[in-house]
């Protein structure tokens, strides 16, 4: 059985990324030339042990961190060397982030947390003009992630699973093209973790949302289309799962 390798431009790619952190006098080489790319609609799992550089790779992809060496390309255009304003704009419009510890703002209600990215996007006047539609959007997304009844609650009043679904709702409100998930199930029990995975897969399948997910859990990783294994800052293997779209870097 032959397999066609599509050589279309990937939606997002990181090429030969090197990243070194300095802690005092020590230098920690986190990424040593690793690369990754994802096409539109792909669900990629990045797996590796603690310290393998998988989270850093995600941060570099999402422009939260700049690589020392290497390039990050979005739709074939280099984005890691853009100025700060442009990078802020891309983070707000193109990427959606989900973190292991949910990272909802504790002072805001769930609804406000979900609306936060749009508050950041629009000026006060523009936000005020569209506040009703933004609120409606947020409520719909919360409904979609199953939190329609918890909108007024503060993060401290929500369970782990609810918090993570809230974080997903927040990531989705900007209608991002790429969802970057950093251990989204890492802090949840197996059942709740599975709920989150189901939600992510559903988003990937129904909305063709590109997802790059970092995890250390094989079972979780296997639910993506493709798994990229990182070890000591380098790509160890890239396995194609089910309907994968192979990439060799």
């Amino acid at each position: 059985m032959s397999q066609t390798i599509k050589m279309t431009t990937p939606l997002i790619s990181a090429k030969a990324i090197q990243k070194t952190y300095k802690t005092g006098q020590h230098e920690v080489r986190v990424l040593r030339g690793a690369g990754i790319s994802a096409s539109e609609g792909e669900f990629i799992s990045v797996i590796g042990q603690s310290g393998s550089g998988k989270s850093t790779m995600l941060h570099v992809l999402g422009l939260l961190d700049a690589p020392d060496v290497g390039e990050v390309m979005y739709e074939g255009r280099r984005i890691d060397n853009l100025n700060e304003t442009a990078r802020d704009l891309l983070r707000n419009r193109v990427f959606g982030f989900i973190f292991q510890f949910y990272h909802l703002l504790p002072e805001l209600s769930l609804l406000e947390n979900v609306m936060a990215p749009l508050m950041i996007r629009y000026s006060m006047w523009n936000y005020w003009k569209q506040r009703r539609s933004i609120k409606q959007q947020a409520l719909e997304i919360l409904e979609q992630v199953g939190l329609g009844h918890r909108t007024k609650h503060r993060p401290s009043q929500l369970s782990g699973g609810e918090l993570q679904r809230g974080a997903i709702a927040r990531a989705l409100i900007t209608k991002p093209r790429i969802l970057l998930a950093d251990e989204p199930t890492g802090n949840l029990d197996a059942d709740t973790g599975q709920e989150i995975m189901t939600l992510l897969k559903q988003l990937n399948e129904e909305s063709r949302l590109t997802i790059v997910m970092v995890t250390h859990d094989e079972a979780v990783a296997s639910q993506g289309h493709r798994t990229v294994r990182l070890k000591e800052g380098r790509i160890e293997t890239a396995t194609i799962a089910k309907t994968g779209v192979a990439t060799a870097m």
Binding site: T56, L64, T85, D88, L105, I120, R121
Partner: protein, 538 residues
């Protein structure tokens, strides 16, 4: 939008920020209260000085004065007539007042001012300064005014004063008779000479009158200066008996004839009057001419002068202009003894609009020969005192503003703490696309918010305090058992305050500015946080 939302939420949820708000509030309130009270006192003081000094003063450089008061006034009217509401001539001379109080003679340097009361009352609020026209509070007792304001101001004694004088003279008369020193047939109406140009012989005569002095047991040789001798005292206390008041009449500064003692039980200050209207004092000054000669004359106290400025009240003796001129030899007489001219040392002018004061001064300077007089506004005459008060207010403001600056450092410290506490939130915001400037403005507006809330609270608190300052003072006095603000010292029935909207505005703006400035450093730090490090922060 998120900036405002977060800023409000941080304000509402971070109770530690309340500490900053309270410190800003207290600083602002203190500044408003102190400034208002200072302004109140200053205005009151200026009013009192102004009231006494009139708007513009023409003062002779020579103590002998300038001749022809009528001519001078005409000259003033010719020069600046359209601006003048009233003008009066006065004679100001240093002198001493000798008062006999309970057998002892007290001599105090004073400034004797000859005035025409009806004219003086037109250039300044003379009536407000005279005891008999005003309700007085003495040691907690309120005495109603002895005279209605409709009674024209003059040199008449009040009924109380006249009564007091009659009783005093009767008492003296009785004492003298009792001692056999006064013939029963001797009439009291033959008043002794009330003006003595004091030369050596006469002053001796005054000090040692020709009374038979009884011998005392322990003194064989009679000594006119022996204060142990009761008759010596007697002689000094009673230079004569005169039921009618002397021709020279005075309004004497309250500070000259009274002193205050603190009641050891209540802790309140009590005023003790040593002399009262109706009694006599001896005034000494110098005559006009070369060389000036000392001149002493007796004068009857008609009223007590109380301007509220302790400097004036303890120094001024206002007397009838003509008597002063007569005693100083400032009157020109023709061969029949009729007055044909007089000399005065100053002219006080009240303007119909004080805004023209400088023009008036310039024109008067041009109208009078510069070597003869000085022309000034009351402000430049009291320039030193007024600028000292202004300086005091300015220094006090600087010191008080330091309180708000201290509050600013409090905000700085608390903000740094909050930035550390909110590090992860800053990372989250950046991952959601917030710019560094956006993050910075959250904390800047947080500082602005703290400053605003603190200022508004401080302004309200300060204004409320100022508005109720007398009730607060009474409560404090009641609580501590001591009078916090002694009305007898300042002659104020209540604490004077004056709120200037400009001052309130600048205090509030200053406090907000400091709060914003104090938040700049923490805000910069927040904006420069690396998102990844911020996200990893635990």
């Amino acid at each position: 939008m998120y900036k405002v939302l977060l800023c409000i939420r941080y304000l509402r949820t971070r109770y530690i920020a309340l500490a900053s708000i309270v410190s800003v509030m207290l600083g602002v309130a203190t500044m408003i209260v102190v400034n208002s009270v200072m302004a109140g006192f200053t205005t009151e003081m200026r009013d009192r000085i102004h009231g006494y000094l009139a708007d513009v003063l023409i003062e002779s450089r020579n103590a002998d004065g300038i001749s022809d008061s009528v001519g001078l006034l005409n000259q003033v009217h010719d020069a600046v007539g359209e601006h003048v509401e009233a003008a009066t001539c006065t004679v100001e001379m240093p002198g001493v007042v000798s008062m006999d109080i309970r057998g002892e003679t007290y001599t105090t340097p004073v400034t004797i001012i000859g005035i025409v009361p009806s004219e003086k009352a037109r250039v300044g609020p003379l009536l407000d300064c005279l005891g008999s026209y005003n309700t007085t509070t003495e040691n907690g007792n309120v005495h109603p005014a002895l005279r209605s304001r409709d009674v024209p101001v003059g040199w008449e004694l009040t009924r109380d004063a006249a009564e007091r004088r009659r009783a005093l003279m009767e008492q003296r008369e009785f004492l003298l008779r009792d001692q056999g020193l006064l013939e029963t047939s001797q009439t009291t109406e033959s008043a002794p000479q009330n003006s003595i140009v004091a030369d050596a012989t006469e002053s001796e005569t005054l000090q040692a009158p020709d009374f038979d002095e009884p011998q005392t047991a322990d003194s064989d040789v009679p000594s006119p200066f022996d204060i142990e001798n009761p008759f010596d005292d007697f002689d000094d206390v009673t230079p004569g008996i005169r039921k009618e008041p002397h021709d020279a009449r005075i309004y004497i500064g309250e500070g000259l004839i009274s002193y205050q003692v603190r009641d050891p039980e209540t802790g309140n200050l009590e005023k003790v009057m040593m002399l009262q209207p109706g009694e006599d004092v001896t005034l000494t000054t110098v005559t006009r001419g070369r060389p000036p000669k000392p001149v002493s004359f007796e004068a009857t106290i008609c009223d007590v002068f109380r301007s509220g400025m302790s400097e004036y009240d303890s120094q001024l003796v206002l007397m009838n202009l003509e008597e002063l001129q007569k005693n100083r030899g400032m009157l020109t007489l023709d061969e029949n003894g009729d007055v044909t001219g007089d000399a005065v040392t100053s002219i006080q002018i009240k303007l119909n609009d004080y805004a023209h004061a400088e023009t008036v001064v310039q024109r008067l300077k041009a109208a009078f020969p510069p070597g003869m007089v000085t022309v000034r506004t009351w402000e430049s005459k009291q320039g030193l005192l007024l600028s000292a008060v202004e300086m005091e207010t300015a220094i006090l403001n600087v010191l008080l503003f330091l309180i708000i600056t201290v509050a600013g450092f409090g905000i700085l410290a608390i903000f740094f703490m909050i930035v550390v506490e909110k590090t992860r939130d800053i990372g989250i915001l950046k991952s959601l696309g917030a710019s560094s400037q956006g993050v910075m403005s959250i904390f800047l507006s947080y500082g602005l918010g703290l400053g605003l809330v603190g200022s508004v609270a401080g302004v309200s608190m300060g204004l409320l305090f100022v508005h109720h300052i007398n009730q607060i003072e009474q409560t404090l006095s009641w609580l501590t058992g001591r009078r916090v603000f002694d009305r007898d010292i300042y002659y104020f029935s209540s604490i004077p305050t004056q709120v200037s909207p400009t001052m309130v505005f600048w205090v509030a703006v200053g406090a907000i500015g400091i709060a914003v400035l104090a938040s700049v450093l923490p805000a910069r730090r927040a904006s420069r946080l690396h998102p990844v490090r911020a996200l990893r922060f635990d």
